[in-house]
């Protein structure tokens, strides 16, 4: 028996040494890559900058990125769901493999128990019980076979572990996208340093007291997703603000603890687009259970659009808020400030997008939860939906009118300016 223990210890040490050596090799390669990264870095940024954003079709974007427009959020489980990252698929396959390999050890004791219960029960017929207290062959095999089975299972598991934990080469060559995820009580904040997008927060409370027929207190958890790209290796860096959290999405097989003043990391890559759900997986206080995670994986062009929309977000939502307030003067002022700063098409699309976003999210949320919301004595959801839709349409019309107005004035202004500039030029020319 002590030999068996010694072998076990040696196996542990051996495994540890081998894996440490492997880790050394990886570390060496990583530093070599880092040395050449300085050269490659400048090239990578140049490539990034020349990607042209596709023109936004606001309604398409709303369809894709509105949390509930026409999208089924997939909570994909690891047993019979469809994990969308390659690692997730491998985990699923290997889980069932492990279950299959261990199944005999699960079933045999239960079967033996049943056999014993029926065959060896005391029938009071004077049968003498057996007297054996050992059986060397049996004991040998039931020690060795589990050891062999466990060794067999170890190899694919260690391989998968290294594949899962070691960041792929794209991270070293600069092809990966970095996203920073911060957990706080009780929501998530996403920052995209590569794209200058910060502060995407995963829940917003929405108060719309003035829409008649809807309950006066409408706070619920609108899931703003963390948006990722298909086909792109994404490194995730986790941290937290107040207590330890853990960010996890089963569909992409990521789960990592988020510590205060510490950074942990993970990575994933998926070729499948879609919406997926996860949650906080470390007790963090009273509403730990409500800290849901939603991610959206979209095609690269759509991702670029989303980045554009996010970059105009705070200004656009301020404009949308002024539209909701209804004061015509203030609306004109806000629109002027908004469009004076930047008259690009993206900015105009962003204004429309962020105005419609909240209303459509609320409408779809109401639709999805209709069967819970309507009570027997109060069927109100349909009315609320149509009221919300008409409010939205009204405000969209206001915004479009304001935009047209502004364009007109801006055209007049720019026509004036052109005329003035031309006049200056001709006068200068004449002056020479």
């Amino acid at each position: 028996m002590r030999h068996f223990l010694a072998i076990l210890f040696c196996l542990n040490l051996f495994a540890g040494t081998v894996l440490a050596a492997e880790d050394q090799a990886v570390a060496v390669t990583a530093s070599e890559i880092a040395a050449t990264e300085a050269d490659a870095g400048s090239d990578a940024t140049a490539v990034e900058a020349t990607t042209e954003p596709v023109a936004t079709d606001v309604d398409t974007m709303l369809g894709l990125l509105n949390p509930a427009q026409d999208v089924q959020i997939d909570t994909t489980n690891m047993l019979w769901g469809d994990p969308v990252s390659q690692i997730g698929q491998q985990i699923q396959v290997k889980t069932w493999l492990a279950v299959l390999i261990f199944l005999p050890f699960l079933i045999i004791p239960q079967v033996l128990l049943l056999v014993v219960i029926f065959k060896f029960r005391d029938r009071k017929d004077g049968r003498k019980p057996a007297t054996f207290v050992g059986h060397h062959t049996l004991e040998f095999w039931w020690t060795v076979i589990p050891i062999i089975v466990l060794i067999i299972v170890t190899f694919p598991m260690v391989d998968l572990l290294y594949e899962q934990e070691m960041p792929p080469k794209e991270v070293h060559t600069g092809d990966a996208m970095e996203v920073r995820i911060t957990g706080k009580q009780f929501n998530w904040i996403y920052d995209y340093p590569d794209h200058g997008v910060e502060g995407v927060a995963t829940f917003r409370m929405l108060f719309e007291p003035e829409i008649e027929g809807t309950p006066s207190k409408l706070d619920f958890y609108l899931q703003e997703p963390a948006v990722f790209m298909t086909g792109k290796v994404t490194t995730l860096f986790f941290s937290a603000i107040d207590v330890t959290h853990a960010w996890g999405v089963p569909a992409i097989a990521v789960k990592k603890d988020c510590f205060v003043d510490r950074i942990t990391h993970s990575w994933f890559s998926s070729d499948t687009a879609g919406w997926f759900e996860g949650q906080c997986y470390e007790l963090c206080g009273a509403w730990h259970g409500k800290m849901i995670v939603t991610i959206a994986i979209v095609e690269p062009e759509q991702f670029t659009c989303w980045v554009e929309l996010m970059q105009h977000r705070s200004a656009a939502t301020a404009l949308a808020a002024s539209l909701r307030a209804g004061d015509q003067e203030k609306i004109q002022e806000a629109a002027k400030k908004y469009f004076d700063k930047d008259q690009s098409q993206e900015r105009k699309d962003a204004a429309l997008y962020w105005l419609k976003y909240e209303y459509l999210a609320k409408i779809k949320w109401l639709e999805n939860h209709k069967r819970f919301l309507n009570s027997e004595d109060n069927v109100w959801v349909d009315g609320a939906i149509s009221k919300t839709r008409s409010f939205m349409n009204g405000r969209v019309q206001t915004l479009q009118r304001v935009m047209a107005n502004y364009r007109q004035q801006a055209n007049l202004q720019s026509a004036d300016e052109e005329a003035t500039a031309a006049a200056v030029a001709t006068s200068e020319g004449a002056g020479e």
């Binding site: 909570t75 985990i91 492990a98 207290v133 039931w142 996860g278 730990h288 259970g289 919301l373 009570s375």
Partner: protein
């Protein structure tokens, strides 16, 4: 000068004072037992509150939101008060671990082990009493912490910082928890010292190590684990109380500390802790299954070595509770492989038990039924543990209900079923009265079914992604949670059956002989060679060793 020295009158107490001042291991064992039973009902009640919450409509997030929107109150216990729910989960676990399971096995250890090895009492009787009485303030602290400002500790029985550091100065509940853990830990350590010395030094002459009964071996290894591991827990929770009250920054990263440090130190105790909670049960299971098959235990030496291996290996695998903290990959690989290792000695034990009952004449008494149910469920629990040990799979299952299902299978389907088995087996010896067999059998069946239902589908809901320690869940988990709550009801009924059987038995008269189960001609264990209950100081004179070599067949001594 007087010739005859006069013995002073020794004051002997009766009644309550007797129990308050006793140093007799049997009375202390009984007190441990009642303490565990009562705290078990408290902890079980908390489990009921948790399961009730998770079966109510208000625990479904969608329904909760709908109620909020309709300005109605959702029908639930805790959905409005997630903090109270977290207190429930925290204290349920803390009470069950520190105030029920460990004391319950201490009860049987204290009562039975000295008799089993032919000793008159434990090596340090006063220390023994002290160790028990430390538990009483611990239990009081745990229960009264609910009634202080801010309520009881609500950061999980694992008490990870920084969550457990919140509310410092205004919420004494967490500090009371720390103090309770200190007291219970101290009790554990002192008890362990006592057992180690008693079993080493006070075996009756002729009882060599190779003849020590398996239950005593199990308690011996458990005590070694308790001795080495529990001080580490003390260190971990001391860091919490220091950071909360003495302005240290041991666990705060911005002050140079590390929350992960706590996790390592905590789990260095808490993994051996789970073996502390199961190993004595393993020993009792060996006795019970051999007794009711009219056979001797199969593979005595292998059983002893397996218990020892589990104990030693148990110290080498703690970080498998922490696979998602961001530890280096080689470390994850090591802990994965080491955790696999524990499956081997456990498998040896399970197969040896099966070989023990094979070929015997099996009597389906209540203790035997509990042990058979234990084997069935514990194997499943161990299987779940093996799945969790595999890191890539654990990434998906960490902090989900799969883990909750796993440890409840091993703790309730393992430790608690074995505590019940031991209670039904040894209560006649401890009190002189048999417990009602019919009620016991019904209880065994209910408990088996209840555990299977309550925790079996937790494996499924966890694999489907339901996180643990949540007060409300997404709609797809509703049915599974309802089934779990129903399973809880069955288990609770079984527990109440035990409790009321024991209380009812006290109203009957003592009518048990020495060997009410009629097993001692094969078992040859001292406790069945003396009266029920045994007399004070157990033996008038040193008992002759009836135990023959357990490694040889009965007919080949």
């Amino acid at each position: 000068m007087s010739d005859a020295a006069v013995m002073p009158e020794i004051k002997r107490y009766t009644g309550i004072m007797d129990y308050l001042t006793t140093v007799d291991h049997k009375k202390i064992g009984l007190m441990y037992f009642w303490f565990a039973l009562i705290m078990g009902i408290v902890g079980g009640g908390m489990a009921g509150a948790i399961r009730l919450q998770l079966a109510m409509p208000g625990a479904v997030l969608e329904k909760l939101y709908a109620a909020e929107m309709n300005n109605a109150t959702s029908f639930s216990l805790f959905s409005e008060n997630g903090h109270l729910f977290n207190q429930m989960t925290t204290m349920h676990a803390s009470i069950m671990i520190f105030a029920v399971i460990i004391p319950a096995f201490a009860a049987f250890g204290n009562y039975i082990v000295p008799i089993m090895i032919g000793a008159r009492d434990m090596a340090f009787p006063k220390l023994n009493a002290f160790a028990f009485w430390l538990l009483v303030p611990a239990g009081i602290l745990l229960i009264t912490s609910f009634f202080v400002q801010g309520g009881a500790a609500a950061s999980g029985w694992t008490a990870y910082p920084p969550l457990s550091l919140q509310g410092a100065g205004s919420n004494p509940g967490q500090d009371m928890w720390v103090l309770a853990v200190h007291l219970a830990g101290m009790s554990s350590i002192l008890g362990a010292i006592n057992f180690l010395v008693t079993i080493t030094n006070m075996r009756a002459p002729g009882m060599t190590w190779g003849k020590v009964p398996l239950f005593a071996w199990a308690v011996y290894f458990t005590s070694a684990l308790q001795l080495v591991a529990t001080p580490v827990l003390g260190a971990a929770v001391t860091m919490i109380i220091l950071d909360r009250n003495f302005d240290t920054g041991l666990l705060i990263a911005s002050r140079g500390g590390d929350p992960v440090l706590y996790q390592h130190i905590f789990w260095f105790y808490s993994h051996p802790a789970v073996y502390i909670m199961i190993l004595p049960g393993f020993g009792a299971a060996s006795h019970i299954m051999a007794a009711f098959s009219s056979k001797r235990i199969f593979g005595y030496t292998a059983m002893v070595v397996a218990i020892g291996s589990i104990g030693v290996l148990g110290f080498m695998v703690w970080a498998h509770h922490m696979f998602t903290i961001g530890m280096p990959t080689w470390m994850q690989a090591y802990f994965m492989i080491a955790s696999f290792g524990i499956g081997v000695p456990t498998g040896i034990k399970v197969f040896s038990w099966l070989a023990t009952i094979w070929g015997g004449t099996i009597r389906f008494t209540t203790p035997m039924l509990y042990c058979l149910g234990f084997i069935s469920i514990f194997v499943l629990g161990g299987f779940g543990g093996l799945i969790l040990a595999m890191v890539p799979i654990d990434i998906q299952l960490h902090d989900t209900y799969f883990v909750v299902g796993h440890f409840h299978y091993t703790l309730v389907g393992g430790s608690v079923m074995l505590i019940f088995a031991s209670a039904y087996y040894w209560w006649p010896k401890m009190s002189g009265r048999m417990l009602n067999e019919t009620a016991g059998k019904i209880g065994a069946g209910l408990m088996f079914t209840g555990i299977f239902l309550a925790f079996g589908n937790m494996h499924i809901s966890g694999a489907l992604g339901m996180a643990r320690r949540i007060v409300a869940y997404r709609e797809e988990f509703e049915t599974l949670n309802h089934v779990s709550t129903f399973g809880y009801l069955l288990t609770a009924i079984a527990a109440l059956i035990l409790f009321f059987s024991i209380v009812a038995s006290l109203f009957r008269k003592r009518d048990c002989g020495d060997d009410p189960w009629e097993i001692n001609d094969i078992q040859q264990s001292f406790e069945w060679a003396t009266s029920s209950p045994p007399p004070p100081y157990n033996f008038e004179e040193v008992p002759p060793i009836p135990v023959t070599d357990p490694r040889k067949r009965v007919d080949q001594q």
